[in-house]
Every structure is written in structure tokens, then in C-alpha cells.
């Protein structure tokens, strides 16, 4: 199998506190990889590092075999195929749903292109297709501010989908969602996974169990265990970390 992401000996510290402390793992193409662990385990920081938001003190993150992520500024990562959804839905609230997609779909993102080139028909079609996929095709003209919480999350995912990414990072995509919305997001996740690799940080264990192809359990900045859901659930250390904090339901 082809390796999409290779993380080696990663250390990230803030003012002396090591949020990520020597993480080594690799993500294969087509995987739906979940990072789980109690609060403060370093999951979000790890995502931050993969998308260039924080700079590690030590170690390396290699994308697609030869691209060292640390050599790219944040806004260039989309070009090599990495996209990120944030925990708090961050869509452009004053723009309409369609305009949100329009801003995302284009490949040329310089000032001249934004002023002089229009959206192509192929791009329009793509937008409509993705909007249909996330069930927002009826709200294309609606202001993003008027969407429900769940719809905003889906819009943000849709904005990633039109970008032809190879690796999508999702930070707690179902946080704050009801059961029905969660299921729908899960189905969406399955569809996304057909085209690209996905890394998810999530607390909802039911969600993890259902959709993860592989799970990495983190605790206090390092990796506790890695494998299938069943496998890691049997690991006494994992049980200890979770049960010690009041069981997985509270995680």
C-alpha cells in the first residue's frame, strides 16, 4: 500500500510543555484514520502540525513520499492536496452557500485570477454535485449564517470536497450534532473516503467504532496504541486511560 503521510519522532512544545512528544506513525492511502484519546492528549495539536499551523521543534511530517510539510506555508498546503476542517464550523457567514463553494473551487487563487477569470462550467457542475452530496443544493442561495449548526459543518466539508484533496483532516466533525445528523455525517465520511484519505479527531466512540479503519490512541502527547478498534479496545493501557477518567462514555 501507498503511504500518504509519514510522521516521524514529532515533538511540539508550548512554553516548555510538550503537547506532542515523540509521535511516529504513518497513514496509508484510502484509510479513515481516527485519532482518539482523552482531552489534552495532543490530537488537535497533531492536526495543527499536519496542516502547518504549528511548527514542530523536532521530527518530520512527509506527505506523499517527498513533500516535507514544514517547507510549505499554510496556504500552499491546499495546492499539494491537504485540507482541514476546524472544530468550530468556520464558513464565510456573510457569503451565500454557493459563494462559499465558489471561493473554494478555484485553483488559481491570485489577485489577477480573482478579478478577471470567471468560474468555468465544469467547476459549476462540480459545485452542484458536491452540494447535492451534502444535501445543501436547496440552500445554494442562502446566507451561510442562516444555516443550522450541522449544515455549516457539512458546508465546510463540501468546501474541502470541491478542492480535489488527497488528504482531509477533520477535527471533531460530529461535535454538537444530534444522532441523525451524526449518522448523516458518517455516510458522508464513507463517500469521501472513496476518493481520498481522511484523518479524523473524534470523541464520539460510537462514531469511531462504526467508521474507523484504523485507530491511533494518544495519551499525554504520545501514542498509546494503534490498530483496529477491537484491537485497541482490548489493550489494558487504553482501558486504563479511559476508565481511569470515568469510562469511554465521558470521553
Amino acid at each position: 500500500m501507498e503511504t500518504v503521510l509519514e510522521i516521524k519522532d514529532l515533538i511540539i512544545s508550548f512554553d516548555g510543555f510538550r503537547a506532542v512528544n515523540g509521535v511516529t506513525t504513518s497513514v496509508q492511502k484510502g484509510e479513515v484514520r481516527f485519532f482518539i484519546g482523552p482531552n489534552g492528549a495532543g490530537k488537535t495539536t497533531l492536526l495543527d502540525a499536519i496542516c502547518g499551523r504549528v511548527h514542530p521543534q523536532h521530527g518530520s511530517i512527509i506527505f506523499n513520499g517527498d513533500k516535507n510539510i514544514m517547507h510549505y506555508p499554510e496556504h500552499k498546503l491546499v495546492n499539494i492536496g491537504i485540507g482541514r476542517k476546524f472544530q468550530v464550523p468556520s464558513v464565510f457567514t456573510s457569503l451565500s452557500v454557493y459563494e462559499n463553494m465558489e471561493v473554494s473551487v478555484v485553483k488559481k487563487r491570485g489577485i489577477a485570477a480573482s478579478l478577471f477569470s470567471e468560474i468555468t462550467e465544469a467547476q459549476q457542475e462540480k459545485i452542484n454535485k458536491v452540494l447535492t452530496l451534502v444535501d445543501l443544493n436547496n440552500c445554494a442561495g442562502k446566507k451561510a449564517a442562516d444555516l443550522s449548526h450541522g449544515q455549516k459543518q457539512w458546508l465546510e466539508i463540501a468546501m474541502l470536497l470541491v478542492q480535489d484533496l488527497q488528504l482531509i483532516l477533520l477535527d471533531e466533525p460530529v461535535a454538537g450534532m444530534g444522532r441523525r445528523e451524526t449518522t448523516k455525517t458518517g455516510e458522508l465520511l464513507r463517500k469521501i473516503a472513496q476518493h481520498c484519505t481522511v484523518i479524523v479527531v473524534e470523541h464520539d466512540m460510537e462514531f469511531v467504532r462504526e467508521f474507523a479503519s484504523k485507530v491511533t490512541v494518544m495519551h499525554e502527547g504520545h501514542i498509546l496504541d494503534e490498530g483496529s478498534v477491537e484491537q485497541v479496545q482490548k489493550n489494558p493501557k487504553v482501558i486504563d486511560v479511559y476508565l481511569g477518567r470515568g469510562g469511554e462514555n465521558c470521553a
Partner: protein
Amino acid sequence: MNTYFLQVFNGISVSSIFMLAALGLAVTFGLMKIINMAHGEFIMIGAYAAYIIQNIFSRYLPASIFDLYFFVAIPASFFLAGIFGWVLEKLIIRHLYGRALDSILATWGVSLVLQQLARSIFGAPNVDVKSPSWLNGALLVLPGLQLPYKRLFIMLLVIACMTAIYFLMYRSNYGRKIRAVMQNRAMAASLGINTRKIDACTFAFGSGLAGIAGCALTLLGSIGPTLGTNYIVDTFMVVVLGGVGSLWGTIAGGFLIGTGNTTLEFLTNATLGKVLVFTLVILFLQWRPKGLFTINSRSLDE
């Protein structure tokens, strides 16, 4: 060399006033994410409070105790500016939470109104506040180097205020609550802290500090309705340099701007000195965009 030393000494005493005013600004920004453009007008209010107290003493009380008026003026400035601050918070600021840029604009409207108010009450020309006689004269340190008592007094006053602030913020129950709200508003509220009350009190307190700064300024020159605007930009620069919302940063920023200003003005001239300080602050922010003392946060932005 002596002239330079005196310049720096004067610079530090003026910047200590900035520190006092800037501390109020820093606390309110840290707590409520509000930039109060009318903060300069609280300096002005404090100065006029001193003026009023002086007039009361000279008119209604025996001349023998006139020199003591300043000890009444300091708390009077604090309370008058504090009351104005409290009212402002209740009427206007509370509508502006989470809208930092808008708060700049609305509070500027407030400063416009307050300035005009001062003009209507006291008239547009500057007025003089007579310093108490025991502050005239200077301390002879070296032959040819005299430190004016007024400036020494200002520094002592600021140090006393800083100490009081320190104890209030780090040693009292109220200070613990303020810091709790600063760090996590929602959490503090759910622990039973009345955040609205903390906000109002802190805003009033910060305004009161500006009032004391204004009272101190009366020792250095005449005062007028636009007194605040002359100091507000420097005060803001202190806050930016130090790191918005950080107390230690504000103190360090005030010290740097004050000594930097005087040093550069001494080496070049008044105009060029100001330009250089501004350039240096911008260059400094290249290196530390969030000021000297930053509070790390994990929230994305917005």
C-alpha cells in the same frame, strides 16, 4: 551627561503616568476585549476633578490647609473617573462585547461627547492647577543634577498604585475572580461568578486608574478638554508593545516607550524621536507580533 540623565528621569516619570493609564486599558481589554477610546477622557476627568478640589479648597477652606488638597484630589479623581466608567459600562460598553473594532468606534463617540461636556462646563481654554507648595523644589543628587520633587512624587504615587493593583489582582478574592473571567468567561460564570458585575467593577476600576493618572498630570502642566487625546496614542502604543491584556507587559511597555521617547528625542529632536519610536515599535512587532508578553491561546481566531 547630567542633562541626559535628567531627561531620562523626566521620561520615566511621564511614562509612569502612561503605565498607570495603560494598565486600566490593558485590564479592560484582557477582560472584555474592548478597546476604550474614551480612556483618554477619563484622564481628563481625573485632571478636572483635581481642579475642582483645588478650587473648593482655595475658596471655602482656610489657606493653611490648602497644600493638603492633593491628598483629597487623588481619591476624588479616582472615584469621579470610576463613576463615569461605571456608567459608561452600564450604558454602552455592555452592548459591544465581542465587537472589538466596533468598540473603538463607539467609545470614540463617547470621547467626543465627554470632551464637549468639559468644554461646556469649564470652557475651552486650558486651566491651571496649582501644585501644593511642598512639591516645589528639587532633590539635589549630584552637583548640577536636581530631581524635581513633583516628578519624584509622581513616581512614588505610581509605585503605590501598582502595588495596590498587584495586591488586588493577585492577592485578593476579587482579583482571583477577575483573572478567572479573563481566562475562561463561560467556566467562571458556571462556577457562580457574576461576570457582569466583575466587568462593570473592573471597567470602573480601570477608568479610576486613568483618573489618578490625570490627577498626576496636573502637576506637570495646565489641563484642558483635549488633554486625553494628547496621551491616548502613547498609551495605546504602550499596550500594543507590552502585549494587549498583560499587566507585566504594560509595565515593561510603558518603561520602554517612556525611556525610548526621551532618549531618541535627546539624540535627535522631538519630531524625529517620535517617528523613530513608532518605527521601532513596528519593527519590534515584526519579531513579536503580539507584543512582549503574550497569552497563548488555542482558539482559531474570530
